[in-house]
């Protein structure tokens, strides 16, 4: 197996008295796609946010390429430039054009040359088939298009790891396909991804590993075949029966 990109070890996260993650351990290797499945409220989103240091954890460790991210000397802003995140609600910046949305990270976080970054951003937009909408504002785009722009915005950061938080859940069913197709392409190109999703067929197609979260506990993990055809836990079986 290739090198470990992200490693969560025994991560515990509480919001006040509510323990959302109860000692989750997870490993992600380079070029690997891991899908997180589980009911709403099982802690999938929180797990992704913790991995991007958007939440502080209560105990456990998170490391990127074997380097702990919880060390005081680690600048979270630098870490986030390597770990990109795409949200359920897109969160495009409404006051910026599509192109400027994609440019914000490279120009203002990576401080890259603006002309070069613009060229690359346009290439990225053409790759997702939205170059002709580059100068429009996000609210003129459909949900599916907005989410594709959000993914492009993450990709221009050339992240080592892409976190996707139920990126199709807020979409009209007819628009889900275009976003999943884009993610399939990324998976085939070897992008390392941790994907929280309710799209079981998609997960079965692209994931190398499926991890099932149940009320903050990573109950089981395995290849899609293992997990979908032979779930070991009763809770996993029930969940899979409910979503299928």
């Amino acid at each position: 197996m290739s090198e470990v990109v992200l490693e969560l070890d025994n991560v515990v996260k509480r919001f006040d008295d509510n323990e959302v993650l109860s000692g989750v351990s997870l490993r992600l290797h380079r070029h690997e796609v891991v899908c997180l499945i589980g009911a709403s409220g099982s802690g999938k989103s929180t797990l992704l946010r913790c991995a991007n240091l958007l939440e502080t954890i209560d105990s456990g460790s998170i490391s990127l390429f074997n380097q702990s991210l919880l060390d005081d000397r680690v600048d979270p802003d630098l870490v986030r430039r390597h770990i990109a995140m795409v949200f359920q609600t897109f969160n495009l910046f409404p006051h910026l054009s599509v192109l400027d949305n994609v440019l914000l990270g490279p120009v203002h976080a990576l401080k890259r040359n603006k002309a070069e970054a613009r060229e690359e951003a346009r290439e990225m937009l053409s790759r997702i088939g939205l170059l002709e909408r580059a100068n429009e504002f996000p609210d003129r785009l459909s949900g599916g298009q907005q989410q594709r722009v959000a993914i492009a915005r993450s990709l221009v950061m050339r992240p080592t790891l892409l976190l996707l938080d139920e990126v199709t859940s807020a979409l009209d069913p007819t628009l889900v396909g275009e976003v999943l197709d884009l993610l399939r392409d990324l998976a085939h190109q070897g992008t390392t991804m941790l994907i929280a999703t309710h799209e079981m067929n998609f997960a079965r197609d692209v994931a190398h590993q499926i991890a099932y979260l149940d009320r903050g506990v990573l109950l089981e993990q395995g290849t899609p075949d293992e997990l979908f055809t032979n779930p070991r836990h009763e809770s996993t079986k029930n969940f899979l029966n409910r979503v299928r």
Partner: protein
């Protein structure tokens, strides 16, 4: 209108308030008779509110930024900012003007105590209006969805860059109409500085009334204020309408 022309006292009101000759005299003033010009007085109002508006925009934003900050290190500043807004929103503006205008010169601390009355007026107006405008800004900052913050931070933008590139542009766009509203009211409140004795439009009209026993100067001052505030009011309305139509277009 009918009351104005038909009321028993109508003709005397027309003579004492709307007398064209007196209105003109008070507008241009008469230095020989010790009468200040209401027109020139208005220039004082104008520079006062221009200066105040710039200061209020900056100070208000500073206070709002401190109040909406999360960092525990800034807690003392947060308390200070909260205290400031509580105090200056809670005291009638006239009292603030008195305290600053009569208090600061009495302190006898060098340059601070040797400013002109109009400057003290500006300080007082700036204190009060900064407190109001800080609240307007704060509402704007809070109106920006948390997801915007998360998205910007997840791109690796620093907190400062996130505020500057993502949160503030959106917040300011939402607060422009209420901000202009406060500015209209600030423009009028420069007249209160007359109570300190600054010769601005209202004070000039008062002097004219006291000397010539005719109130037409007040009407002149009122008309001049209208000439300033009405365009700004219309402009604000236009912005609100544009904003609404843009939002409707976005929702469709």
């Amino acid at each position: 209108m009918a009351v104005f022309f038909l009321a028993p006292g109508g003709s005397s009101v027309r003579y004492f308030f709307f007398n064209p000759r007196q209105m003109w005299d008070s507008f241009v003033g008469n230095p020989a008779k010790g009468l200040s010009s209401v027109g020139i007085g208005l220039l004082t109002n104008i520079w006062m509110f221009l200066l105040c508006e710039v200061l209020v925009l900056i100070i208000g934003l500073l206070i709002a930024s401190v109040r909406t900050s999360q960092s525990p290190v800034l807690l003392p500043f947060r308390l200070l900012a909260t205290g400031f807004t509580d105090i200056f929103r809670g005291i009638p503006i006239l009292l603030v003007i008195y305290m600053v205008g009569f208090g600061l010169p009495e302190l006898g601390i060098g340059a601070i105590s040797r400013q002109s009355i109009a400057v003290y007026g500006c300080v007082a107006l700036t204190l009060t209006y900064s407190a109001y405008v800080a609240e307007v800004y704060r509402a704007g900052l809070n109106s920006v969805a948390n997801g915007q913050l998360l998205a910007a931070r997840s791109l690796g933008l620093t907190h400062a860059a996130t505020m500057r590139r993502v949160v503030l542009p959106q917040a300011i766009r939402t607060v422009i109409p209420p901000l202009l509203n406060d500015f209209i009211s600030l423009q009028k409140d420069t007249a209160l500085v007359s109570t300190l004795g600054a010769i601005e439009a209202t004070r000039a009209a008062q002097i004219y009334a006291a000397t010539e026993f005719n109130y037409s100067g007040y009407v002149v001052a009122a008309l001049l204020f209208l000439a300033l505030t009405v365009p700004l009011t219309r402009f604000t309305d236009r912005l609100i309408a544009r904003d609404r139509s843009r939002r409707l277009a976005g929702a469709s």
